[in-house]
Amino acid sequence: MSPITRRSLIAGSSAAAAALVSGCDPFSLSDGEALRPILDFGQFISLHVQRALLAGQPLAREFTEADISPEFPPNGTERPNGMAYFRHMMSNFADFRLTVDGMVKKPLSLTLDEVKAMPPRTQITMHNCDEGWSAIGQWTGVPLAHLLQTAELMPQARYIVFHCMDEMVRTPDNSGFYYESIDLFDAMHPQTILAYGMNGKALPVAHGAPLRLRVERHVGYKHAKYVNRIEAVDRLTHIARGKGGFWEDRGYQWYAGL
């Protein structure tokens, strides 16, 4: 870890995340690969046991307005770099388009108003960061299932990929943008929504405006922010480094139910 700065350690977690990006994580990079099969054993059991527990597709607990936490710390990107996003901010996302493509019969290109015209869902849920903190917020958005039904998912589609507007690291092949993926088990869940509202107001930039994913049975990094493209695919291996998400490509588990 880095030498002392004037910040407290709690504030230092982003530095730890930066250390991960710069590649000093022995468990995710080449020198720790020998441990992979043992470590992936945990992921294998977690996925299958938790999926068995969730077979009836229960909802994550929904809280009341009185339970909403006074603050909700933004995590990850708090404002995407680059002029393209800045112009969206200046025009209040008037020119923003959400693309739904890949293995769908009717690809979509929707304005934010068109997304908001779809039947909404509002839920007050707990956000669980894998670092250990949690906050409670109210989210309003369109169920992902509705978008996918409108676009008519092809039968061979197995995963839904969320492409984001925030570039985490500069790479020659543009693979440093944030992205995430979930399978259809989570994609079709009623609480899996693309949120445009938070705590009764428009979704703030720090929380992923204009659209972010809420996938309530997973920890924080699955909840992609700044989503502008939803792609249905049959496998994840051809996207970026092939592990199904920006953090997954850097050693984190794809299944994040714990």
């Binding site: 992921q43 938790q50 607990r61």
Partner: protein
């Protein structure tokens, strides 16, 4: 039942120094020995990866939400003394600040360079958050599997009833006080008494096996958003997600305390004999004085 009295052949040869031969009993079954040593490895991995995870957000709260800025029971931070430019580790417990530089908040690496980390690097698993999560969760599943093997075996063989369940007589205050007094004097059991666990030992094992370890597993599960979607009563059982995290940390401390006392007892009551009994199963009964 056999006793530590000299047996037939000893009586047949009435030598002057009729020192009774040390009797050896078969104390630990192979299942107990195997699950014990697997547990040692698992608990070390869980502790070291768990402290690493704690370091990513070194603060404990009550209720469902908790983040930087919410009042914390316990927090550990690294600050800098602006007068000396020296790093200072500060541990805050219930609003009281303690300077813990060197151990908590700020520790030093092999070159004497300060490291900002709640728990020092030598106590935590190397690797980042992703690695610590992988190790912690894989080890947690192994703990559950190992625990189930132990539980099933112990139920079928009567290990719990025979070896761990305290008898009514043992729970009488007078007996408990005598046993406590023996512990304080570091007096080891001999003869017949050494064949069985003493009452404090039984209670310690029962509390660890039936209370502390299950609470660790359940509070761990309460931190999983997928598990609480399926089993929402876990939130109510532990008063919320952050409360569960706090209980998880405190009970981990109790387990560490148990292990410390356990190791001291193993040494005090005969390190070689105890280690041999947990490796080969054979335990030599210390003769009566």
């Amino acid at each position: 039942m056999a006793s530590s009295e000299p047996n037939g052949e000893a009586r047949a040869a009435p030598q002057p120094a009729a020192r009774p031969r040390r009797e050896v009993m078969y104390r630990h079954t192979v299942a107990v020995r195997l699950t014990h040593w697997i547990n040692v490895l698992i608990l070390v991995l869980l502790l070291m990866s768990g402290l690493r995870l704690f370091n990513y957000h070194p603060a404990l709260y009550w209720g469902n939400y908790g983040y930087r800025g919410v009042p914390a029971f316990v927090s550990i931070a690294a600050l800098e003394d602006i007068e000396t430019d020296e790093p200072v580790g500060v541990t805050t417990i219930m609003g009281h600040n303690f300077i813990t530089t060197g151990v908590l908040g700020v520790s030093y690496d092999a070159n004497g360079e300060p490291i900002a980390a709640a728990f020092p690097n030598w106590l935590t698993l190397p690797g980042g958050l992703a690695g610590a999560r992988d190790v912690h969760f894989a080890a947690a599943w192994l703990l559950v599997l190992n625990g189930l093997v132990y539980l099933l075996f112990s139920l079928f063989t009567g290990h719990f009833r025979r070896d761990l369940l305290p008898g009514a007589g043992e729970l009488r205050p007078r007996h408990m006080l005598t046993d406590m007094w023996n512990h304080l004097r570091l007096r080891r059991a001999r003869g017949q008494a050494a064949r069985r666990y003493n009452v404090l030992q039984k209670l310690a094992y029962v509390i660890v096996i039936f209370i502390l370890l299950p609470v660790m597993v359940l509070t761990g599960l309460t931190m999983s958003p997928a598990v609480t979607a399926a089993l929402p009563f876990l939130f109510d059982m532990f008063a919320g997600r952050q409360s569960a995290r706090t209980i998880h940390f405190l009970v981990a401390n109790l387990l560490v305390l148990f292990v410390f006392i356990h190791i001291i007892q193993v040494i005090v009551t005969g390190l070689f004999n105890n280690m041999r009994s947990m490796i080969t199963g054979r335990y030599a009964i210390p003769p009566e004085d």
